[in-house]
């Protein structure tokens, strides 16, 4: 039985998808219609009780939270594809550090920008200009730290690409695209070079090609 990823067209599931593709793991996807409220229906809530995407089903095994799925896939298929967890326990510690920075520090202001710029009208709430401005300022301060770090380190956790870098792909893709703030990346020399590098990886290109939201 092949591993299934629910909700591939949305951003968070793409963390799982790009990891599966990097590791050469076969999988299927199951669309979830958020507009029709499919994620709030009992059938989906049985897979993901918070009613968000992704959910992953691997035979009898169910798991949710995109970064937990990334870790699971990277560990289970450690011996194939790039080692996205690093070689040593200490390497892995650095990967976990930057994966957590993404979750706790990078993602929250970027999520505000995503919701209020891309989805406010579609989701039916007023776009909060003050929150947008504050979120951009917060994200800018975070990116300044990334710029200093990436001046000394090719990738976030060291000289190897890891889950920490991949975790940034889906929402940063929104930032430089539909959110319209590519300058936040482009104006920072080392962040820009890092972004060009990770976003041109074949696995990410394939993810976008196959699972971008239908126009």
């Amino acid at each position: 039985m092949v591993l299934k990823v629910y909700g591939p067209h949305f951003a968070s599931p793409k963390r799982a998808l790009v990891t599966l593709i990097e590791k050469g793991v076969p999988f299927e996807t199951v669309p979830v219609d958020l507009m029709k409220g499919e994620h709030k229906q009992p059938a989906y809530l049985a897979l993901q009780p918070f009613g968000t995407v992704p959910a992953v089903v691997d035979g009898d095994y169910k798991i949710f939270e995109s970064r937990a799925v990334m870790r699971y896939v990277a560990e289970k298929y450690r011996s194939q594809g790039p080692d996205l967890l690093g070689k040593t326990v200490e390497d892995r510690g650095q990967v976990e550090q930057w994966l957590d920075v993404e979750a706790t520090t990078f993602h929250p202001p970027l999520l505000n920008l995503t919701l209020h710029i891309m989805f406010a009208s579609v989701m039916g709430f007023p776009s909060d200009e003050k929150l947008i401005k504050e979120s951009e300022e917060k994200l800018s301060a975070v990116l300044d730290v990334y710029e200093a770090h990436l001046a000394k380190s090719k990738y976030l956790a060291g000289d190897f690409v890891s889950l920490a870098d991949l975790a940034h792909l889906p929402f940063t893709d929104y930032l430089v695209g539909p959110i319209g703030k590519a300058y936040m990346i482009k104006d920072r020399k080392h962040v820009s070079a890092w972004w060009d590098d990770i976003s041109s990886r074949p696995a990410w290109k394939e993810t976008l090609e196959k699972y971008s939201f239908p126009a």
Partner: protein, 213 residues
Amino acid sequence: MVVKLYGQVTAACPQRVLLCLLEKEIEFEIIHIDLDTLEQKRPEHLLRQPFGQVPAIEDGDFKLFESRAIARYYATKYADQGTNLLGKSLEHRAIVDQWADVEVGYFNVLVHPLVMNLVIKPRLGEECDAVLVEELKVKLGVVLDIYENQLASNRFLAGDEFTMADLTHMPAMGYLMRTNINRIVKDRVNMNRWWEEVTARPAWKKLMKMAGF
């Protein structure tokens, strides 16, 4: 070699690391970083933690920040010592990671601003945002219903053993339980049962004593 932890023993994120080190019986030394005087924003600390937060650790030449990453590192490195915090199999570990990640995106995102408004702001003489507190309470209620359901059929968050999933919630939960809205947990039968059980653990009691709570 003794792990050096830079932080304040009363703050939630350093407590997450301390609790892990206590459960794993790993020796440590706390180097106090004074949050009230913003020591965490000064150049010396920014070298350890470029986002100006606590905790950060130094273990010989090895340095790390982000409390959850630090906890996972020690739980992995000392897998055979002290409490097993990461489950018995890869599949179990992933469920532990799942609920630990839920803490970041669903729990802490609500509890942090609640504690800021109910505990920290009054202490600093600032005004509490009562409207925000009401909104956050409603959202937290919805989230805790899901936890309640999980704990109805599981002794702990990730199954029948205490793991990182439970540990990672405890510092912020401790703060929440010391506010005047703690009924939000106490009125939920399984959450209350879980909280009584996890806080009866010796490592937690030691930590609370160290923090003077």
